[in-house]
């Protein structure tokens, strides 16, 4: 899968035919000969399949080349910048879970229409609140709160950014978990647990939660891609240095090695996220474990 993605991106970048060196043409002090020499230094004079093969064989050994714009190896650049993005993403996941789990549990326990309606509204609102709108509103709020633009506390900004990033997650997690809990509660084994004389809370916590958690784990693994994509917006709006802003500057500088490096890195991360989701599911559910191991 990662192979396909990298090949497609590489082909697109190659066919469009522009690179960081194209802009040098505008400078009259740089002659065609210099550009041609630079091209051969970076290997840009080679045909596309050869360039892809070279890039791929280097990438397998962990060498993603050197960024043309930042003049440092791509891999170290991506690693250092991704730390802050992953912190932000982890905080977003934590916030989303902190909303979804208690709310859906309370909604299931008390079966009240007001709580259900509230959950419904929260899902609708968080689902249709685009991250860019939320990020801008967060920026406006943070600007309003502080007297000058300088003394904006970074901790507040971090949590605002995480909250912005988590909004779509809240909707997805809450919808999944709440829906799944409702469905599980109609199962026969729940009736059996009730017949044993367990209290309603014990029935939910001991018998309903685990089977209801399965689809949520899948969704959580799948939503990592959305979080990484959303971080581009959130980081740019709120001015945080991370993987997202790195991607934007790479695109603006048309820094092909860096763009490829980030695409490769994020697709690997997404793939790992999916695998992690499935693994957690296997730990949670013995039926899946017996099938796959």
């Amino acid at each position: 899968m990662i192979l396909i993605v990298s090949a497609v991106t590489f082909a697109l970048l190659g066919f469009a035919g522009g690179d960081a060196l194209t802009q040098l043409r505008d400078n009259p002090q740089i002659s065609e000969a210099t550009i041609a020499r630079l091209r051969s230094v970076y290997g840009l004079d080679q045909p596309l399949p050869i360039r892809y093969f070279r890039w791929l064989s280097a990438a397998v050994t962990g060498d993603l080349g050197e960024s043309m714009y930042f003049r440092v190896p791509v891999s170290s650049l991506v690693w250092t910048r991704s730390v802050s993005t992953f912190l932000l993403g982890a905080a977003a996941f934590a916030i989303a879970l902190a909303f979804a789990v208690p709310l859906s549990l309370i909604g299931t326990r008390y079966k009240s229409t007001t709580i259900d309606a509230f959950i419904d509204l929260l899902i609708l609102l968080t689902a249709s609140m685009p991250r860019i709108v939320l990020a801008l509103v967060a920026l406006a709020v943070s600007v309003r709160l502080s007297a000058s633009a300088m003394d904006r506390s970074s901790a507040i900004l971090f949590w605002l950014a995480a909250l912005t990033l988590s909004a779509p997650l809240i909707s997805v997690f809450l919808a999944q978990l709440h829906g799944e809990l409702q469905r599980t509660m109609r199962e026969d084994f729940i009736k059996l647990a009730r017949a044993k004389g367990l209290s309603e809370s014990a029935v939910i916590l001991r018998h309903a939660v685990r089977p209801a958690l399965n689809p949520v784990l899948t969704i959580a693994g799948l939503s990592l891609g959305g979080v990484l994509g959303g971080s581009v917006i959130v980081e740019s709006v709120l001015g945080r240095q991370g993987l997202g802003t790195l991607m934007v500057s790479a695109v603006r500088a048309r820094d092909l090695p860096l763009v490829m490096g980030i695409v490769l890195f994020t697709s690997t991360a997404v793939w790992l996220g999916n695998a992690l989701g499935e693994m957690l599911q296997a730990i949670n559910d013995k039926r899946i474990r017996d099938l796959s191991f």
């Binding site: 801008l136 309003r144 581009v232 709006v237 092909l256």
Partner: protein, 347 residues
Amino acid sequence: MNEQSTRDGFSRRRTDRVAVIGWLVIAVFALSAVFADSLAPYDHRAQSRLEPATPATTIHFSGLTPIIYARRVEDPLRRTYSEDTSVAYPVGFFVRGYSYKLLGIVETDLHLFGVRSTSGVAPRINLLGTDQLGRDRFSRLLYAVRFSLVVAFIGVLVACLVGFLVGGVSGYAGRFVDTFLMGVTDAMLALPTLILILGVRAAFPLELPMTRAALLLLLIFALTGWAEMARLTRGLVLSLRKREFVVAAIALGVSQTRVLFRHILPNILPSLRTRAFLLLPTFLLAEVALSYLGVGLQEPEPSLGNMLTAASDLDQLRSQPFSVLSPAFAVLLFTLGVRLIGRSDRV
């Protein structure tokens, strides 16, 4: 995402009423896109050096007629303005302004509303204030909505066509073709879309004129948006392939293309339409994101995204947050409208 389970709390009647609100919102957006020139009081490119970054014009009433006053710069550095209440200018409907072509056909200079000049040059009415170059933000917003909606709409059509073809072939041909096409589709679906879009964007020159930028956005949407439609189409085609009327058509010797387009397509169209409709805000947001990051539509043409870059002027954001963020609220309203309709199945 999970409409079935979330809809339980709403009764059918309530859902219908909610959907009507959604349709109204979409209708307002569609109308303002079509009649942007008539609704906008000023040319979206016209700069006014005397009034950069003004707050929204205050509308006063003298009796029943709405009036506005001319504004004077009080402090050019801090951009504060005061009203000159000596002359009142009435605000009226169907005022003459710059000329344009209504619906691209009729040449006219009538605008829905504007300021009538009683003596000399009338001051400008800026419902949402002006940007740093003194351009009327309300007019720009209308043109931005037009551009964003047209691009998103055509983008959805193109993406649907590609998705339908891939999904149809995949579901119909089966076996090896199916495995390969769905492998690619799954790879596309798993990727962070925005990163992918930016990656594709990096392949093209940074600065583009309006039509080229629009075409590029369409290409990007088609390249990145087809996967979801393909997945849906494949599932639907698979479920219909063994049905009697399809088998009958094949037995009668109808060609495969004809079976796909004449027998299968009409049956799966409603489901495809619902999903396509939900793609609209996705593409709208992608356009907003790209233009906001400075790699979509570029100045001086307005788009919802590049208008939002004004938010980086923190002083203006602090003093007039609602005017500066008005494009964001437009996006929010549109997304909400589509979601409300999406909740009821009858799209």
